[in-house]
């Protein structure tokens, strides 16, 4: 059964040191800032974080990085105009970086969620990001063998959830959320609003409840400063 809570601490309880944490969002759109703040207070450290970017400004993922909790980032686009937290950590050699083309990042998480053992991707062939990887020519085209990226935990933001755990998203804030929800052992979603079971149209549910373990109801949450 999905836990629905207004307590950010309860939402992130039990995340262990050394976990691989998938964090949704493309820049700040879809980033689960309240869950990340709760994770900072919760204290888990030595984390591997998988997210498209490596933090923007000083909030959300950037704050988690600044708190020194992240051993390694797996992402496609760390360098941004406002990624100063990651930039310093990286230049000081205080964080590892695995750079993954964005399509491979999404597809590798999808594979983890879908039970695919590995797949041949056309992306990255002949580039430094494919170095050391197995390649195969299929139908005259070269491909690189890519393996799943599985999370212990996914922290995502959706728009509305129902009490069973079904989720819908809003505009381009959908981005990595639905994929990460499938790829983690425990998926935790912060939502702007929780509705009763039956209020979401079954045709429009984007993340079915089977993928969602805990929901943080932001409309009811007591978010500490």
């Amino acid at each position: 059964m999905t836990l629905v809570t207004a307590d950010p601490g309860a939402a992130v309880a039990g995340i262990a040191d050394g976990s691989t944490v998938l964090i949704g969002g493309f820049g700040m759109a879809g980033m689960p800032v309240t869950l990340i703040d709760a994770l900072i207070r919760q204290g888990a450290t030595d984390l591997t974080v998988v997210s498209n970017n490596a933090g923007n400004g000083d909030t959300g993922l950037a704050a988690l990085l600044a708190a020194g909790r992240v051993r390694k980032m797996i992402c496609s686009f760390p360098r941004q105009s406002d990624s100063w937290v990651f930039d310093s950590l990286y230049r000081e050699g205080r964080i590892e970086l695995e750079l993954v083309p964005q399509g491979n990042l999404a597809e590798r998480m999808r594979a983890a969620g879908a039970g695919i053992g590995a797949f041949y991707s056309p992306t990255g062939v002949g580039t430094p990001l494919a170095e050391g990887k197995e390649t195969r020519t299929i139908d005259g085209r070269d491909h690189v063998l890519e393996y799943p990226i599985k999370g212990d935990v996914a922290l995502i933001r959706a728009h509305v959830g129902d009490r069973m755990g079904n989720l819908v998203y809003r505009k381009t804030a959908r981005n990595f959320g639905p994929v990460m929800a499938t790829a983690a052992t425990t998926t935790i979603a912060e939502v702007h609003r929780v509705v009763e079971v039956g209020e979401l149209d079954p045709e429009t549910v984007v993340t079915p409840c089977v993928y969602v373990d805990r929901i943080l109801d932001l409309s009811a949450a007591e978010v500490s400063a």
Partner: protein, 242 residues
């Protein structure tokens, strides 16, 4: 989300569990068998019920169990069979029978539906079988007869995808041949995938330790041992429930 199998019947979590012999009665009928399968599905589970007899398990799930049914043709939150005006040709189960929708349902396409199965997100699936081997190999899609038209559907995906694969079948074929066997002779559906075997004569747990008899109906472990060509273990002890 992970749910645990019923601890009362799960030797892994209940070391004092004993094999129960129900000798004062006959074999289970189909309805009783379906009820026993339903009993062992933990509340809140995500469950796929195969075509045919497994479909009837739904009728025995208690109200408020919170069990959510998946159908491979793209739905979570499937309700009971549709009747009369409820019948909608756009809403069917894996057996193509008209069904209904429960509150909290969702629809998705076939690749997403099988990603859900194959990615290990369903807690239990219940399937029929021609044969199950003592290692848990499953044969349920093809008799291997030369003139038979083979059809596999989602059986192979369910067999390897669900966290727990329950099989329902009669223990013996009409000619008395055991269907729990050392090695399947019918074409295989999946290897070492069956965790529980529900038959009219007994309920078996299958796993790395081999075949354990959990309960018998109208027979004893000894009698089963004499008719089956597989080694039978019992739970910690045995108890005659009469």
């Amino acid at each position: 989300m992970t749910v645990s199998l019923n601890p009362d019947t799960n030797p892994d979590v209940h070391p004092d569990a004993r094999t129960v012999e129900h000798t004062g009665r006959g074999p289970l009928d189909r309805d009783e068998l379906a009820a026993l399968v339903a009993r062992d599905i933990p509340p809140g589970s995500f469950v796929n019920l195969g075509i045919g007899q497994p479909t009837t398990v739904a009728d025995h799930l208690p109200a408020g169990s919170g069990v959510i049914l998946h159908t491979e043709n793209g739905m979570l939150g499937m309700g009971p069979a549709a009747h009369g005006d409820e019948i909608d040709p756009d809403l069917t189960n894996a057996g193509k029978m008209p069904v209904t929708e429960l509150p909290g349902a969702s629809y998705f396409h076939h690749a997403d539906s099988f990603a859900m199965m194959r990615g290990g997100h369903l807690d239990v699936c219940v399937l029929g079988a021609y044969q199950v081997s003592e290692r848990g190999d499953l044969a349920n899609w093809h008799t291997g007869a030369p003139d038979a038209i083979p059809a596999v559907g989602g059986a192979m995906d369910l067999a390897i995808g669900a966290k727990n694969v329950f099989v329902m079948m009669t223990l013996f074929a009409r000619d008395g041949t055991p269907k729990l066997v050392p090695e399947c002779t019918y074409p295989l559906t999946g290897l070492a995938c069956v965790s529980r075997l529900y038959t009219d004569r007994a309920i078996f747990h299958l796993g790395p330790d081999g075949v354990t008899v959990a309960e018998t109906y109208g027979t004893t472990v000894e009698e089963l041992a004499s008719r089956l060509d597989v080694t039978l273990r019992t739970l910690g002890g045995r108890e005659d429930a009469g």
